[in-house]
């Protein structure tokens, strides 16, 4: 449990992450589960006293609910079964999914593979920066043609 979650919790969480952000149909963008965001979520949970009980309780509830359907847990369930359980969880543990979804977005949309999938370099902006066209300053011709717009005083 290097992440701070037990193996069972990690497995369930990975599977839930893929439900929040599944892989894109064109294959350009990975699912959140396969990006290894469990460590990121674990770190966020440790830093947030408000989030921690909601996530731990939600995972526990999800494992209990899954156990009634499959001995292999949440990750072994069908797509529909997972959706049903997450819907149920939204009622029994209302803080779980919003908190987890927020943290998932934070981790996912900073990941180099995701940036590349969106068509931008998977690196920090500095030191390479980006090219940007100066643009057509001739568009200002109608503005130049207008009279001055300030009051003399």
């Amino acid at each position: 449990m290097a992440s701070g979650f037990s193996d069972a919790e990690s497995s369930t969480l990975t599977s839930v992450l893929d439900e929040i952000i599944p892989p894109s149909r064109d294959g350009k963008l990975p699912g959140a589960g396969e990006l290894g965001l469990v460590d990121y979520i674990a770190d966020a949970v440790e830093k947030s006293p408000d989030l921690k009980p909601a996530i731990l309780e939600g995972l526990s509830t999800l494992q209990d609910l899954s156990g009634g359907r499959s001995s292999d847990g949440f990750s072994a369930l069908s797509k529909n079964e997972k959706a049903e359980l997450l819907k149920e969880l939204a009622t029994t543990s209302p803080a779980f999914l919003p908190g987890l979804t927020y943290q998932t977005y934070l981790g996912y949309y900073q990941h180099p593979r995701v940036l590349e999938g969106l068509g931008i370099p998977g690196r920090p902006p500095h030191p390479k920066g980006y090219e940007l066209e100066v643009g057509d300053l001739g568009l200002l011709d109608p503005v130049r043609a207008r009279p001055k717009r300030y009051r003399e005083c």
């Binding site: 963008l29 900073q110 940036l115 969106l118 980006y130 940007l132 643009g135 200002l140 003399e152």
Partner: protein, 534 residues
């Protein structure tokens, strides 16, 4: 130097303090600046690491109340719809500003005469013009000559790139026949005075790792220090002290170890911004000044002006490459800047277009606005938003009102036990009408540019970037705190040089004017050295 009396002691190393220190260095006087923050290391700015998108919400965020940096002081702004944004380091809030660098208009100094409200400044545009020019040389201002919204001025550098986003919005303004122009920006668009050129990193407002943005730690300060000015960091001033005649004789401050120290000075200059300056003055109580130093008028802390901001965003069909380029600097419009009473309000505003959102901001905005779904359909809904946003912030002129004020909070303190400021501020009816008008006009121009959907937030709560008016300038000691060259009416060796001394706020970002004023005041000090205290 516990017993040495320095000639000039400056409190605060931001936009104003840096410019004044540089200018006064000519005199070879002993000049010391005390700064509660430290030098920033640009190699550690967010854009150098993969978490660059998130750190703007954390240790490099706008609010001193949320950053968790020990050099910050907390501010109670719970009684204000606009929350203070600042930064405490060498360079002050220029570390985080967007570097939008417009000048005031000539009419901004004559508000009472022209529009019958507020007050005129005791100085005018023509007087400040050479200082604007000097400041442009020192900071390096990118822009384009010929803007019909301004008297002639020559930018020092080529304008920031329009990019596809700027062109798209420019066409929208043209369709309506409205004014627009590339923004004056304190950004080195080519190598300038040892600063590397802008490489379009994006988030200028979390510090510029390239050094292209003109924060004063990379412009004025290196030169001032080479000329002999001493800049002491991690020194937090508690109060200005006075001698038996009621003249300022120095300050009490806490050093980096928290040890209280006294520094004596012949002249004290306060440059702590429109909130930090009244806080320091009000904390400086003595038998001569029981209500705070230089406060016989009772106006220290009064007339606080923010700029009420609106944010108007549009969603476009085509990618706009909006993640590239200086966040806050692209093009601006002053179509609605000068007063037109038929609009239902006096004074006016500037539209300042923004670049688009980074990937994470896109997701968070999509989540909060209910446009981004999770689960199946997530990517499809995200692609509707990603790189399709463009918009603007609209900066409305605020007017001075005594009820909008900075006082000392009875309970809140900083890490050294110094009472913190409390803000009481409400929007005026004039501001509300102006905000309503600018949101409608903002949506109109975005739709003209091709936006299929528009969004607005007004007032923008996080936008307390501009802090002005709390130690106003004037010739009448009953109605102002400092005279027409920044000297306190009540204490003739105490000067104030930041946005506190603004009489009115104009409808543009204030940094350029703060620095022009600072250079002007420095010149007045130099010209009057022989009889400075008369």
């Amino acid at each position: 130097m516990p017993d040495e009396v320095v000639d000039v002691l400056i409190v605060g190393s931001g936009a104003a303090g840096a410019a004044l220190a540089w200018s006064l260095a000519d005199t070879r006087m002993k000049i010391v600046c005390l700064e509660q923050g430290d030098w920033m290391d640009p190699a550690k700015y967010p854009t150098t690491a993969m978490d660059w998108q998130l750190r703007g919400f954390g240790d490099m965020g706008l609010s001193p109340n949320g950053r968790g940096r020990p050099e910050d002081y907390p501010i109670n702004d719970s009684e204000s719809p606009i929350h203070v944004s600042n930064f405490n380091a060498v360079g002050g809030s220029t570390i985080l500003y967007a570097a939008h660098f417009p000048r005031f208009h000539p009419a901004d100094f004559k508000v009472r005469t022209l529009d019958g409200i507020a007050d005129d400044w005791p100085i005018d545009y023509r007087l400040l013009e050479p200082y604007y020019d000097e400041n442009a040389r020192m900071m390096g201002v990118a822009g384009l000559e010929g803007d019909p919204a301004y008297p002639p001025k020559k930018p020092t550098l080529p304008p920031v790139p329009l990019g596809k986003l700027g062109e798209t919005l420019g066409r929208g303004f043209n369709k309506l026949g409205w004014h627009w122009w590339p923004s004056d920006s304190a950004i080195a668009t080519r190598e300038y005075e040892g600063r590397a050129p802008c490489i379009n990193l994006g988030p200028c407002i979390t510090g510029c790792a390239q050094g292209a943005k003109a924060s004063t730690d990379v412009t004025y300060w290196p030169v001032a220090v080479r000329r002999g000015v001493e800049l002491w960091t991690r020194c937090r001033v508690r109060e200005i002290t006075v001698d038996e005649n009621g003249m300022a004789d120095g300050v009490l401050y806490y050093d980096a170890e928290g040890v209280e120290r006294k520094q004596k000075a012949e002249v004290v200059v306060v440059a702590c911004n429109g909130v930090g300056t009244p806080r320091l003055l009000l904390n400086s109580v003595s038998s001569h000044f029981p209500d705070g130093i230089a406060n016989r008028s009772g106006l220290v802390g009064k007339n606080l002006m923010f700029h009420p901001y609106a944010m108007v965003m549009g969603l476009f069909d085509e990618p706009l490459e909006g993640y590239k380029g200086p966040t806050g600097c692209c093009i601006m419009s002053q179509e609605f800047y000068e007063t037109d009473p038929s609009r239902g309000f006096l004074r006016g505003y500037t539209m300042e277009t923004l670049r688009g959102m980074a990937p994470l901001s896109t997701a968070l905005w999509g989540m909060s606005s209910g446009q981004l779904s999770s689960g199946e359909g997530h990517h499809e809904s995200y692609q509707q938003l990603w790189d399709r946003t463009a918009g603007m912030v609209v900066i409305c002129e605020d007017l001075p009102e005594e009820c909008n004020q900075v006082t000392l909070d009875p309970e809140l303190e900083d890490g050294n036990g110094i009472p913190s400021p409390r803000i009481d501020y409400r929007l005026s009816e004039n501001s509300k009408k102006m905000l309503e008008h600018c949101v409608a006009r903002g949506k109109e121009v975005l739709e003209a540019a091709g936006a299929r959907k528009t969004y607005a937030e007004a007032p923008l709560g996080v936008a307390g970037w501009h802090l002005m008016g709390t130690a106003r300038m004037g010739t009448d000691p009953q109605k102002s705190v400092v005279n027409e060259w920044g000297r306190c009416h009540d204490v003739k060796n105490l000067f104030i040089i930041d946005g506190s001394i603004f009489v009115t706020a104009a409808g543009v970002n204030p940094t350029n004017t703060i620095q022009a004023l600072s250079l002007y005041i420095a010149d007045k000090i130099k010209q009057n050295l022989a009889n400075l205290f008369d």
